[in-house]
Subunit: 287 residues, 2 copies
Protein backbone atom coordinates (compact mmCIF):
# COMPACT_ATOMS: atom_id res chain seq x y z
CA UNK A 1 0.00 0.00 0.00
CA UNK A 2 1.26 3.44 -0.88
CA UNK A 3 2.49 5.68 1.91
CA UNK A 4 0.45 8.89 1.99
CA UNK A 5 1.97 10.26 5.19
CA UNK A 6 4.84 12.30 3.79
CA UNK A 7 3.25 14.04 0.81
CA UNK A 8 -0.08 14.61 -0.88
CA UNK A 9 0.83 13.57 -4.40
CA UNK A 10 -2.20 11.25 -4.53
CA UNK A 11 -4.69 13.83 -3.28
CA UNK A 12 -7.38 15.20 -5.54
CA UNK A 13 -9.96 17.76 -4.53
CA UNK A 14 -13.51 17.36 -5.73
CA UNK A 15 -14.38 20.99 -6.25
CA UNK A 16 -17.82 20.67 -4.65
CA UNK A 17 -15.90 20.61 -1.37
CA UNK A 18 -15.30 24.37 -1.57
CA UNK A 19 -18.02 25.35 -4.02
CA UNK A 20 -19.73 27.80 -1.65
CA UNK A 21 -16.46 29.62 -0.94
CA UNK A 22 -14.94 30.09 -4.38
CA UNK A 23 -15.53 29.99 -8.13
CA UNK A 24 -13.62 27.31 -10.01
CA UNK A 25 -10.82 29.53 -11.30
CA UNK A 26 -9.99 30.55 -7.75
CA UNK A 27 -10.20 26.92 -6.61
CA UNK A 28 -7.62 25.99 -9.23
CA UNK A 29 -5.31 28.77 -8.06
CA UNK A 30 -5.66 27.73 -4.43
CA UNK A 31 -4.99 24.09 -5.28
CA UNK A 32 -1.95 24.98 -7.40
CA UNK A 33 -0.63 27.11 -4.56
CA UNK A 34 -0.79 24.04 -2.29
CA UNK A 35 0.76 21.71 -4.86
CA UNK A 36 -2.45 19.71 -5.12
CA UNK A 37 -1.99 17.81 -8.34
CA UNK A 38 -5.57 16.99 -9.32
CA UNK A 39 -9.16 18.14 -9.02
CA UNK A 40 -12.54 16.82 -10.05
CA UNK A 41 -14.74 19.72 -11.14
CA UNK A 42 -18.51 19.93 -11.60
CA UNK A 43 -20.14 20.99 -14.83
CA UNK A 44 -21.96 23.97 -13.36
CA UNK A 45 -18.74 25.30 -11.86
CA UNK A 46 -16.98 24.91 -15.21
CA UNK A 47 -19.82 26.57 -17.10
CA UNK A 48 -19.85 29.55 -14.76
CA UNK A 49 -16.24 30.45 -15.56
CA UNK A 50 -16.18 29.12 -19.11
CA UNK A 51 -14.76 25.79 -20.21
CA UNK A 52 -11.98 27.26 -22.36
CA UNK A 53 -10.73 29.43 -19.51
CA UNK A 54 -10.76 26.42 -17.20
CA UNK A 55 -8.97 24.18 -19.71
CA UNK A 56 -6.22 26.77 -20.10
CA UNK A 57 -5.92 27.37 -16.35
CA UNK A 58 -5.59 23.65 -15.67
CA UNK A 59 -2.88 23.33 -18.28
CA UNK A 60 -0.97 26.35 -17.01
CA UNK A 61 -1.18 25.12 -13.44
CA UNK A 62 -0.23 21.56 -14.34
CA UNK A 63 -3.32 20.24 -12.60
CA UNK A 64 -4.87 17.02 -13.84
CA UNK A 65 -8.43 15.81 -13.49
CA UNK A 66 -9.29 12.72 -11.45
CA UNK A 67 -12.76 12.70 -12.97
CA UNK A 68 -15.46 14.98 -14.30
CA UNK A 69 -18.76 15.46 -12.46
CA UNK A 70 -21.10 14.45 -13.80
CA UNK A 71 -23.25 12.64 -16.33
CA UNK A 72 -26.28 10.53 -15.56
CA UNK A 73 -29.85 11.34 -14.47
CA UNK A 74 -31.16 9.13 -17.25
CA UNK A 75 -34.76 8.32 -16.17
CA UNK A 76 -37.57 10.55 -17.35
CA UNK A 77 -41.32 10.48 -17.47
CA UNK A 78 -41.52 10.34 -21.28
CA UNK A 79 -39.51 9.73 -24.45
CA UNK A 80 -38.70 13.37 -24.96
CA UNK A 81 -37.22 13.48 -21.47
CA UNK A 82 -35.16 10.37 -22.08
CA UNK A 83 -33.79 11.92 -25.27
CA UNK A 84 -32.95 15.16 -23.52
CA UNK A 85 -30.99 13.20 -20.92
CA UNK A 86 -29.01 11.41 -23.62
CA UNK A 87 -28.23 14.71 -25.35
CA UNK A 88 -27.06 16.16 -22.09
CA UNK A 89 -24.82 13.16 -21.45
CA UNK A 90 -23.25 13.56 -24.87
CA UNK A 91 -22.43 17.15 -24.00
CA UNK A 92 -20.95 16.04 -20.68
CA UNK A 93 -18.78 13.50 -22.51
CA UNK A 94 -17.56 16.21 -24.89
CA UNK A 95 -16.71 18.51 -21.99
CA UNK A 96 -14.88 15.72 -20.16
CA UNK A 97 -12.88 15.10 -23.32
CA UNK A 98 -12.03 18.75 -23.77
CA UNK A 99 -10.81 18.91 -20.17
CA UNK A 100 -8.83 15.69 -20.60
CA UNK A 101 -10.64 13.90 -17.79
CA UNK A 102 -9.79 10.25 -17.18
CA UNK A 103 -13.50 9.47 -16.84
CA UNK A 104 -16.97 10.96 -16.68
CA UNK A 105 -18.64 10.11 -13.37
CA UNK A 106 -22.26 8.99 -13.67
CA UNK A 107 -24.79 9.79 -10.97
CA UNK A 108 -27.43 7.79 -12.74
CA UNK A 109 -30.67 9.30 -11.44
CA UNK A 110 -33.78 7.54 -10.18
CA UNK A 111 -37.49 8.37 -10.02
CA UNK A 112 -37.84 11.41 -12.28
CA UNK A 113 -39.14 14.46 -10.43
CA UNK A 114 -38.34 12.97 -7.01
CA UNK A 115 -35.49 15.40 -6.45
CA UNK A 116 -38.00 18.22 -6.82
CA UNK A 117 -40.30 16.43 -4.34
CA UNK A 118 -42.83 15.17 -6.84
CA UNK A 119 -41.91 11.89 -8.55
CA UNK A 120 -43.52 11.23 -11.95
CA UNK A 121 -43.68 7.52 -11.17
CA UNK A 122 -42.79 5.18 -8.28
CA UNK A 123 -41.56 2.12 -10.17
CA UNK A 124 -37.87 1.90 -9.26
CA UNK A 125 -37.36 -1.12 -11.51
CA UNK A 126 -38.52 1.01 -14.44
CA UNK A 127 -35.99 3.67 -13.40
CA UNK A 128 -33.32 0.97 -13.25
CA UNK A 129 -34.17 -0.18 -16.76
CA UNK A 130 -34.06 3.39 -18.04
CA UNK A 131 -30.68 3.83 -16.38
CA UNK A 132 -29.39 0.65 -17.98
CA UNK A 133 -30.62 1.77 -21.41
CA UNK A 134 -29.21 5.25 -20.91
CA UNK A 135 -25.77 3.97 -19.97
CA UNK A 136 -25.82 1.58 -22.94
CA UNK A 137 -26.60 4.39 -25.37
CA UNK A 138 -24.18 6.86 -23.81
CA UNK A 139 -21.49 4.21 -23.87
CA UNK A 140 -21.70 3.98 -27.66
CA UNK A 141 -20.84 7.64 -27.98
CA UNK A 142 -18.29 7.52 -25.15
CA UNK A 143 -16.47 4.68 -26.90
CA UNK A 144 -16.34 6.65 -30.16
CA UNK A 145 -14.88 9.66 -28.40
CA UNK A 146 -12.68 7.66 -26.06
CA UNK A 147 -14.11 8.79 -22.74
CA UNK A 148 -14.47 6.13 -20.02
CA UNK A 149 -17.73 6.18 -18.05
CA UNK A 150 -17.60 5.58 -14.28
CA UNK A 151 -20.83 4.47 -12.62
CA UNK A 152 -20.99 5.79 -9.06
CA UNK A 153 -23.20 3.73 -6.76
CA UNK A 154 -24.95 6.13 -4.41
CA UNK A 155 -25.97 5.47 -0.82
CA UNK A 156 -29.35 3.74 -0.52
CA UNK A 157 -30.67 6.81 1.33
CA UNK A 158 -30.46 8.56 -2.07
CA UNK A 159 -32.14 5.74 -3.99
CA UNK A 160 -35.41 7.57 -4.58
CA UNK A 161 -34.13 10.85 -5.91
CA UNK A 162 -30.48 10.72 -7.04
CA UNK A 163 -29.41 7.23 -8.07
CA UNK A 164 -31.10 3.86 -8.27
CA UNK A 165 -27.72 2.14 -8.48
CA UNK A 166 -26.94 1.66 -4.82
CA UNK A 167 -24.31 -1.03 -4.41
CA UNK A 168 -21.00 -1.77 -6.04
CA UNK A 169 -22.31 -5.22 -6.93
CA UNK A 170 -25.22 -3.70 -8.83
CA UNK A 171 -22.91 -1.33 -10.71
CA UNK A 172 -20.51 -4.12 -11.61
CA UNK A 173 -23.35 -6.31 -12.86
CA UNK A 174 -24.17 -3.53 -15.33
CA UNK A 175 -20.51 -3.20 -16.33
CA UNK A 176 -20.34 -6.95 -16.96
CA UNK A 177 -23.39 -6.83 -19.20
CA UNK A 178 -22.35 -3.78 -21.21
CA UNK A 179 -18.60 -4.27 -21.33
CA UNK A 180 -17.95 -7.99 -20.82
CA UNK A 181 -14.52 -7.71 -22.39
CA UNK A 182 -13.44 -5.26 -19.64
CA UNK A 183 -12.20 -2.79 -22.21
CA UNK A 184 -11.90 0.03 -19.66
CA UNK A 185 -14.69 1.89 -21.45
CA UNK A 186 -17.02 1.31 -18.47
CA UNK A 187 -16.17 1.07 -14.79
CA UNK A 188 -17.03 2.43 -11.37
CA UNK A 189 -16.31 5.34 -9.08
CA UNK A 190 -16.02 4.04 -5.53
CA UNK A 191 -17.11 6.76 -3.13
CA UNK A 192 -16.63 5.36 0.37
CA UNK A 193 -19.35 7.58 1.78
CA UNK A 194 -21.86 5.70 -0.34
CA UNK A 195 -20.56 2.16 0.06
CA UNK A 196 -18.63 1.91 3.34
CA UNK A 197 -21.55 0.13 5.07
CA UNK A 198 -21.78 -2.69 2.50
CA UNK A 199 -20.91 -6.14 3.91
CA UNK A 200 -19.87 -7.16 0.39
CA UNK A 201 -17.60 -4.16 -0.21
CA UNK A 202 -14.26 -5.94 0.07
CA UNK A 203 -15.37 -8.78 -2.20
CA UNK A 204 -16.85 -6.44 -4.79
CA UNK A 205 -13.76 -4.21 -4.92
CA UNK A 206 -11.71 -7.35 -5.54
CA UNK A 207 -14.19 -8.42 -8.21
CA UNK A 208 -13.96 -5.01 -9.89
CA UNK A 209 -10.21 -5.15 -10.31
CA UNK A 210 -8.10 -2.49 -11.93
CA UNK A 211 -10.00 -2.61 -15.23
CA UNK A 212 -13.15 -1.36 -13.50
CA UNK A 213 -11.82 0.89 -10.72
CA UNK A 214 -11.73 4.34 -12.30
CA UNK A 215 -12.05 6.65 -9.30
CA UNK A 216 -11.89 6.61 -5.52
CA UNK A 217 -13.64 9.21 -3.35
CA UNK A 218 -13.14 9.73 0.36
CA UNK A 219 -14.68 11.70 3.23
CA UNK A 220 -16.18 10.33 6.45
CA UNK A 221 -19.46 9.19 8.00
CA UNK A 222 -20.40 11.18 11.08
CA UNK A 223 -22.30 9.87 14.11
CA UNK A 224 -24.83 11.32 14.26
CA UNK A 225 -25.43 12.32 10.64
CA UNK A 226 -27.92 15.19 10.58
CA UNK A 227 -28.74 15.48 6.90
CA UNK A 228 -29.09 12.96 4.10
CA UNK A 229 -27.00 14.99 1.65
CA UNK A 230 -24.98 17.80 3.20
CA UNK A 231 -23.54 16.42 6.43
CA UNK A 232 -20.49 14.52 5.25
CA UNK A 233 -17.50 14.47 7.53
CA UNK A 234 -13.85 15.37 7.04
CA UNK A 235 -11.60 12.30 6.98
CA UNK A 236 -10.82 11.28 10.56
CA UNK A 237 -13.99 12.78 12.03
CA UNK A 238 -16.19 9.75 11.44
CA UNK A 239 -16.28 5.98 11.45
CA UNK A 240 -15.18 4.91 7.96
CA UNK A 241 -12.10 2.71 8.00
CA UNK A 242 -10.32 4.68 5.31
CA UNK A 243 -6.98 2.91 5.28
CA UNK A 244 -8.51 -0.54 5.33
CA UNK A 245 -10.65 0.32 2.32
CA UNK A 246 -7.75 1.91 0.43
CA UNK A 247 -5.79 -1.28 0.95
CA UNK A 248 -8.65 -3.21 -0.67
CA UNK A 249 -8.56 -0.77 -3.60
CA UNK A 250 -4.81 -1.03 -4.05
CA UNK A 251 -4.80 -4.80 -3.63
CA UNK A 252 -7.29 -4.85 -6.51
CA UNK A 253 -4.88 -2.81 -8.63
CA UNK A 254 -6.06 0.77 -8.16
CA UNK A 255 -3.18 3.22 -8.20
CA UNK A 256 -4.94 6.52 -8.90
CA UNK A 257 -5.86 9.59 -6.89
CA UNK A 258 -7.91 9.59 -3.74
CA UNK A 259 -10.40 12.35 -4.25
CA UNK A 260 -11.81 14.27 -1.32
CA UNK A 261 -15.48 15.07 -1.84
CA UNK A 262 -17.26 16.66 1.11
CA UNK A 263 -20.79 18.00 0.88
CA UNK A 264 -21.15 19.73 4.21
CA UNK A 265 -22.93 22.79 5.45
CA UNK A 266 -20.30 22.96 8.17
CA UNK A 267 -17.26 22.84 5.89
CA UNK A 268 -18.92 25.20 3.41
CA UNK A 269 -19.16 27.71 6.26
CA UNK A 270 -15.39 27.61 6.87
CA UNK A 271 -12.75 29.66 5.02
CA UNK A 272 -11.72 27.79 1.86
CA UNK A 273 -8.04 28.00 2.78
CA UNK A 274 -8.75 26.21 6.06
CA UNK A 275 -10.75 23.52 4.28
CA UNK A 276 -7.99 22.76 1.77
CA UNK A 277 -5.27 22.80 4.41
CA UNK A 278 -7.33 20.41 6.52
CA UNK A 279 -7.87 18.12 3.52
CA UNK A 280 -4.11 17.93 3.00
CA UNK A 281 -3.36 17.23 6.65
CA UNK A 282 -6.12 14.65 7.06
CA UNK A 283 -5.19 12.99 3.78
CA UNK A 284 -1.71 12.39 5.13
CA UNK A 285 -2.93 11.16 8.50
CA UNK A 286 -6.14 9.25 7.85
CA UNK A 287 -6.51 8.32 4.16
CA UNK B 1 -52.78 -11.87 -2.92
CA UNK B 2 -55.10 -11.05 -0.06
CA UNK B 3 -57.61 -8.26 -0.49
CA UNK B 4 -57.05 -5.58 2.16
CA UNK B 5 -59.52 -3.08 0.77
CA UNK B 6 -62.65 -4.06 2.66
CA UNK B 7 -61.36 -4.61 6.19
CA UNK B 8 -58.28 -4.24 8.31
CA UNK B 9 -58.05 -7.74 9.74
CA UNK B 10 -54.39 -7.97 8.68
CA UNK B 11 -53.38 -4.61 10.17
CA UNK B 12 -51.07 -4.45 13.16
CA UNK B 13 -49.92 -1.26 14.83
CA UNK B 14 -46.36 -0.98 15.98
CA UNK B 15 -46.90 1.03 19.13
CA UNK B 16 -43.96 3.35 18.45
CA UNK B 17 -46.27 4.96 15.90
CA UNK B 18 -48.24 6.70 18.66
CA UNK B 19 -45.74 6.53 21.49
CA UNK B 20 -45.58 10.28 22.00
CA UNK B 21 -49.36 10.56 22.27
CA UNK B 22 -50.30 7.74 24.62
CA UNK B 23 -49.06 5.19 27.12
CA UNK B 24 -49.38 1.57 26.07
CA UNK B 25 -52.54 0.77 28.03
CA UNK B 26 -54.33 3.61 26.26
CA UNK B 27 -52.93 2.48 22.90
CA UNK B 28 -54.41 -0.97 23.49
CA UNK B 29 -57.80 0.56 24.33
CA UNK B 30 -57.74 2.74 21.23
CA UNK B 31 -56.76 -0.19 19.02
CA UNK B 32 -59.47 -2.41 20.52
CA UNK B 33 -62.01 0.34 19.95
CA UNK B 34 -61.09 0.32 16.24
CA UNK B 35 -61.09 -3.48 15.97
CA UNK B 36 -57.37 -3.52 15.27
CA UNK B 37 -56.45 -7.12 15.93
CA UNK B 38 -52.72 -6.91 16.63
CA UNK B 39 -49.99 -4.64 17.92
CA UNK B 40 -46.24 -4.80 18.27
CA UNK B 41 -45.19 -3.10 21.50
CA UNK B 42 -41.80 -1.84 22.65
CA UNK B 43 -40.15 -2.97 25.87
CA UNK B 44 -39.94 0.49 27.38
CA UNK B 45 -43.65 1.07 26.77
CA UNK B 46 -44.47 -2.27 28.38
CA UNK B 47 -42.22 -1.60 31.38
CA UNK B 48 -43.79 1.79 32.00
CA UNK B 49 -47.25 0.31 32.52
CA UNK B 50 -46.15 -3.06 33.89
CA UNK B 51 -45.91 -6.27 31.91
CA UNK B 52 -48.60 -8.11 33.90
CA UNK B 53 -51.09 -5.31 33.36
CA UNK B 54 -50.30 -5.31 29.65
CA UNK B 55 -50.56 -9.09 29.35
CA UNK B 56 -54.00 -8.98 30.99
CA UNK B 57 -55.20 -6.06 28.91
CA UNK B 58 -54.15 -7.76 25.68
CA UNK B 59 -56.01 -10.92 26.69
CA UNK B 60 -59.14 -9.04 27.70
CA UNK B 61 -59.11 -7.04 24.47
CA UNK B 62 -58.41 -10.09 22.31
CA UNK B 63 -55.44 -8.34 20.76
CA UNK B 64 -52.54 -10.46 19.51
CA UNK B 65 -48.92 -9.48 19.06
CA UNK B 66 -47.31 -9.41 15.62
CA UNK B 67 -43.89 -9.16 17.23
CA UNK B 68 -42.11 -7.78 20.28
CA UNK B 69 -39.65 -4.88 20.01
CA UNK B 70 -36.90 -5.51 20.59
CA UNK B 71 -33.80 -7.54 21.34
CA UNK B 72 -30.37 -6.97 19.85
CA UNK B 73 -27.68 -4.33 20.35
CA UNK B 74 -25.12 -7.08 20.82
CA UNK B 75 -21.74 -5.35 20.17
CA UNK B 76 -19.87 -3.85 23.10
CA UNK B 77 -16.43 -2.52 23.82
CA UNK B 78 -15.52 -5.28 26.27
CA UNK B 79 -16.51 -8.72 27.55
CA UNK B 80 -18.59 -7.36 30.38
CA UNK B 81 -20.59 -5.33 27.91
CA UNK B 82 -21.12 -8.33 25.65
CA UNK B 83 -22.38 -10.33 28.65
CA UNK B 84 -24.74 -7.56 29.69
CA UNK B 85 -26.20 -7.53 26.18
CA UNK B 86 -26.80 -11.29 26.32
CA UNK B 87 -28.48 -10.98 29.72
CA UNK B 88 -30.69 -8.25 28.40
CA UNK B 89 -31.65 -10.35 25.39
CA UNK B 90 -32.61 -13.24 27.66
CA UNK B 91 -34.92 -10.88 29.54
CA UNK B 92 -36.40 -9.68 26.26
CA UNK B 93 -37.04 -13.29 25.22
CA UNK B 94 -38.76 -13.98 28.55
CA UNK B 95 -40.97 -10.92 28.16
CA UNK B 96 -41.85 -11.86 24.58
CA UNK B 97 -42.84 -15.30 25.85
CA UNK B 98 -44.96 -13.90 28.66
CA UNK B 99 -46.78 -11.68 26.16
CA UNK B 100 -47.23 -14.57 23.75
CA UNK B 101 -45.40 -12.82 20.93
CA UNK B 102 -44.84 -14.77 17.70
CA UNK B 103 -41.25 -13.50 17.58
CA UNK B 104 -38.75 -11.20 19.20
CA UNK B 105 -37.51 -8.61 16.69
CA UNK B 106 -33.75 -8.04 16.74
CA UNK B 107 -32.26 -4.64 15.99
CA UNK B 108 -28.78 -6.01 16.20
CA UNK B 109 -26.68 -2.95 17.02
CA UNK B 110 -23.41 -1.82 15.48
CA UNK B 111 -20.43 0.22 16.64
CA UNK B 112 -20.89 0.44 20.43
CA UNK B 113 -21.24 4.01 21.64
CA UNK B 114 -22.00 5.34 18.15
CA UNK B 115 -25.62 6.01 19.03
CA UNK B 116 -24.38 8.31 21.78
CA UNK B 117 -22.06 10.01 19.26
CA UNK B 118 -18.82 8.46 20.47
CA UNK B 119 -18.06 5.01 19.03
CA UNK B 120 -15.76 2.79 21.11
CA UNK B 121 -14.30 1.34 17.93
CA UNK B 122 -14.71 1.76 14.14
CA UNK B 123 -14.27 -1.81 12.94
CA UNK B 124 -17.67 -2.71 11.51
CA UNK B 125 -16.55 -6.26 10.69
CA UNK B 126 -15.81 -6.74 14.41
CA UNK B 127 -19.33 -5.47 15.18
CA UNK B 128 -20.71 -7.92 12.64
CA UNK B 129 -18.86 -10.80 14.26
CA UNK B 130 -20.12 -9.77 17.71
CA UNK B 131 -23.63 -9.63 16.31
CA UNK B 132 -23.27 -13.09 14.83
CA UNK B 133 -21.98 -14.48 18.12
CA UNK B 134 -24.70 -12.69 20.08
CA UNK B 135 -27.47 -14.08 17.89
CA UNK B 136 -25.94 -17.56 18.11
CA UNK B 137 -25.90 -17.44 21.91
CA UNK B 138 -29.33 -15.87 22.24
CA UNK B 139 -30.71 -18.46 19.88
CA UNK B 140 -29.75 -21.26 22.23
CA UNK B 141 -31.90 -19.77 24.96
CA UNK B 142 -34.65 -18.78 22.53
CA UNK B 143 -34.87 -22.35 21.29
CA UNK B 144 -35.17 -23.67 24.86
CA UNK B 145 -37.98 -21.28 25.62
CA UNK B 146 -39.61 -21.56 22.21
CA UNK B 147 -39.37 -17.94 21.10
CA UNK B 148 -38.49 -17.31 17.43
CA UNK B 149 -35.95 -14.57 16.77
CA UNK B 150 -36.51 -12.23 13.81
CA UNK B 151 -33.46 -10.38 12.50
CA UNK B 152 -34.47 -6.99 11.13
CA UNK B 153 -32.10 -5.60 8.50
CA UNK B 154 -31.88 -1.85 9.02
CA UNK B 155 -31.36 0.78 6.34
CA UNK B 156 -27.68 1.36 5.49
CA UNK B 157 -28.03 4.95 6.76
CA UNK B 158 -28.29 3.38 10.23
CA UNK B 159 -25.32 1.05 9.76
CA UNK B 160 -22.97 2.94 12.07
CA UNK B 161 -25.16 3.31 15.11
CA UNK B 162 -28.20 1.00 15.09
CA UNK B 163 -27.62 -2.14 13.06
CA UNK B 164 -24.74 -3.54 11.04
CA UNK B 165 -27.09 -5.99 9.32
CA UNK B 166 -28.26 -3.89 6.39
CA UNK B 167 -29.66 -6.14 3.70
CA UNK B 168 -32.05 -9.03 3.63
CA UNK B 169 -29.36 -11.13 1.95
CA UNK B 170 -26.98 -10.51 4.84
CA UNK B 171 -29.66 -11.44 7.40
CA UNK B 172 -30.57 -14.61 5.52
CA UNK B 173 -26.93 -15.64 5.26
CA UNK B 174 -26.82 -15.56 9.06
CA UNK B 175 -30.07 -17.52 9.29
CA UNK B 176 -28.63 -20.16 6.97
CA UNK B 177 -25.52 -20.53 9.09
CA UNK B 178 -27.29 -20.68 12.46
CA UNK B 179 -30.46 -22.51 11.49
CA UNK B 180 -29.69 -24.48 8.32
CA UNK B 181 -32.61 -26.81 8.93
CA UNK B 182 -35.04 -23.84 8.71
CA UNK B 183 -36.65 -24.83 11.98
CA UNK B 184 -38.50 -21.50 12.29
CA UNK B 185 -36.38 -20.65 15.33
CA UNK B 186 -34.60 -17.91 13.37
CA UNK B 187 -35.94 -15.70 10.60
CA UNK B 188 -36.31 -12.11 9.48
CA UNK B 189 -38.53 -9.08 9.97
CA UNK B 190 -38.92 -7.34 6.60
CA UNK B 191 -39.43 -3.62 7.20
CA UNK B 192 -39.95 -2.06 3.78
CA UNK B 193 -38.62 1.28 4.97
CA UNK B 194 -35.24 -0.33 5.44
CA UNK B 195 -35.09 -2.57 2.38
CA UNK B 196 -37.33 -1.07 -0.33
CA UNK B 197 -34.32 0.33 -2.25
CA UNK B 198 -32.55 -3.04 -2.54
CA UNK B 199 -32.23 -4.30 -6.15
CA UNK B 200 -32.12 -7.84 -4.76
CA UNK B 201 -35.24 -7.48 -2.60
CA UNK B 202 -37.61 -9.58 -4.67
CA UNK B 203 -35.08 -12.40 -5.04
CA UNK B 204 -34.20 -12.38 -1.35
CA UNK B 205 -37.83 -12.43 -0.21
CA UNK B 206 -38.33 -15.45 -2.45
CA UNK B 207 -35.19 -17.03 -1.01
CA UNK B 208 -36.43 -16.43 2.55
CA UNK B 209 -39.68 -18.27 2.03
CA UNK B 210 -42.33 -18.77 4.65
CA UNK B 211 -39.98 -20.48 7.10
CA UNK B 212 -37.94 -17.30 7.45
CA UNK B 213 -40.52 -14.53 6.98
CA UNK B 214 -41.67 -13.76 10.52
CA UNK B 215 -42.83 -10.16 10.28
CA UNK B 216 -43.65 -7.49 7.72
CA UNK B 217 -43.48 -3.77 8.48
CA UNK B 218 -44.81 -0.97 6.34
CA UNK B 219 -44.71 2.82 6.15
CA UNK B 220 -43.41 4.99 3.30
CA UNK B 221 -40.28 6.76 2.04
CA UNK B 222 -40.78 10.50 1.63
CA UNK B 223 -39.10 12.69 -0.98
CA UNK B 224 -37.41 14.61 0.44
CA UNK B 225 -36.61 12.78 3.67
CA UNK B 226 -35.49 15.33 6.25
CA UNK B 227 -34.18 13.12 9.04
CA UNK B 228 -32.35 9.80 9.11
CA UNK B 229 -34.59 8.35 11.83
CA UNK B 230 -37.79 10.25 12.47
CA UNK B 231 -39.15 11.27 9.07
CA UNK B 232 -40.94 8.15 7.92
CA UNK B 233 -44.04 8.62 5.83
CA UNK B 234 -47.59 7.35 6.14
CA UNK B 235 -48.40 4.70 3.54
CA UNK B 236 -49.34 6.42 0.29
CA UNK B 237 -47.36 9.57 0.98
CA UNK B 238 -44.08 8.29 -0.43
CA UNK B 239 -42.52 6.21 -3.17
CA UNK B 240 -42.47 2.64 -1.83
CA UNK B 241 -44.39 0.21 -4.02
CA UNK B 242 -46.28 -1.32 -1.13
CA UNK B 243 -48.59 -3.64 -3.02
CA UNK B 244 -45.87 -4.97 -5.29
CA UNK B 245 -43.73 -5.82 -2.28
CA UNK B 246 -46.62 -7.43 -0.40
CA UNK B 247 -47.23 -9.63 -3.41
CA UNK B 248 -43.60 -10.78 -3.23
CA UNK B 249 -44.11 -11.56 0.47
CA UNK B 250 -47.31 -13.49 -0.10
CA UNK B 251 -45.91 -15.32 -3.13
CA UNK B 252 -43.14 -16.47 -0.80
CA UNK B 253 -45.71 -17.80 1.66
CA UNK B 254 -46.14 -14.98 4.15
CA UNK B 255 -49.70 -14.76 5.43
CA UNK B 256 -49.28 -12.73 8.61
CA UNK B 257 -50.00 -9.17 9.69
CA UNK B 258 -48.73 -6.09 7.98
CA UNK B 259 -47.48 -3.93 10.78
CA UNK B 260 -47.48 -0.16 10.50
CA UNK B 261 -44.38 1.35 12.09
CA UNK B 262 -43.94 5.09 11.64
CA UNK B 263 -41.24 7.06 13.41
CA UNK B 264 -42.20 10.59 12.50
CA UNK B 265 -42.02 13.91 14.26
CA UNK B 266 -44.96 14.94 12.11
CA UNK B 267 -47.23 12.03 12.97
CA UNK B 268 -46.22 12.19 16.62
CA UNK B 269 -47.50 15.78 16.62
CA UNK B 270 -50.96 14.69 15.44
CA UNK B 271 -53.82 13.48 17.69
CA UNK B 272 -53.43 9.72 18.22
CA UNK B 273 -57.00 9.07 17.10
CA UNK B 274 -56.26 10.73 13.76
CA UNK B 275 -53.07 8.69 13.33
CA UNK B 276 -54.81 5.37 13.95
CA UNK B 277 -57.77 6.25 11.73
CA UNK B 278 -55.36 7.25 8.97
CA UNK B 279 -53.41 4.00 9.37
CA UNK B 280 -56.64 2.03 8.90
CA UNK B 281 -57.70 4.00 5.85
CA UNK B 282 -54.28 3.92 4.20
CA UNK B 283 -53.87 0.25 4.99
CA UNK B 284 -57.03 -0.48 3.02
CA UNK B 285 -56.06 1.75 0.13
CA UNK B 286 -52.30 1.46 -0.24
CA UNK B 287 -50.93 -1.60 1.59
Amino acid sequence: MRDFSSNHDALSINTATVRKQWALDRIIDECAHRKIRAISPWRDQVAKVGIDVIARKLKDAGIALSGYCRGGFFPAKDKAGLERALDDNRRAIDEAKLLNAPCLVLVVGSLPGALEGSPDYHDISRARQEVFDGIAKSLEYAREVGMPLAIEPLHPMQAADRACINTLEQALDICDRLDPEQSRALGVAVDLYHVWWDPKLEAQIARAGKNRLFAYHVCDWLTPTRDLVNDRGMMGDGVIELKKCRKWMEDAGYAGFSEVEIFSDYWWSQPGEHVLDTCIQRHREYV
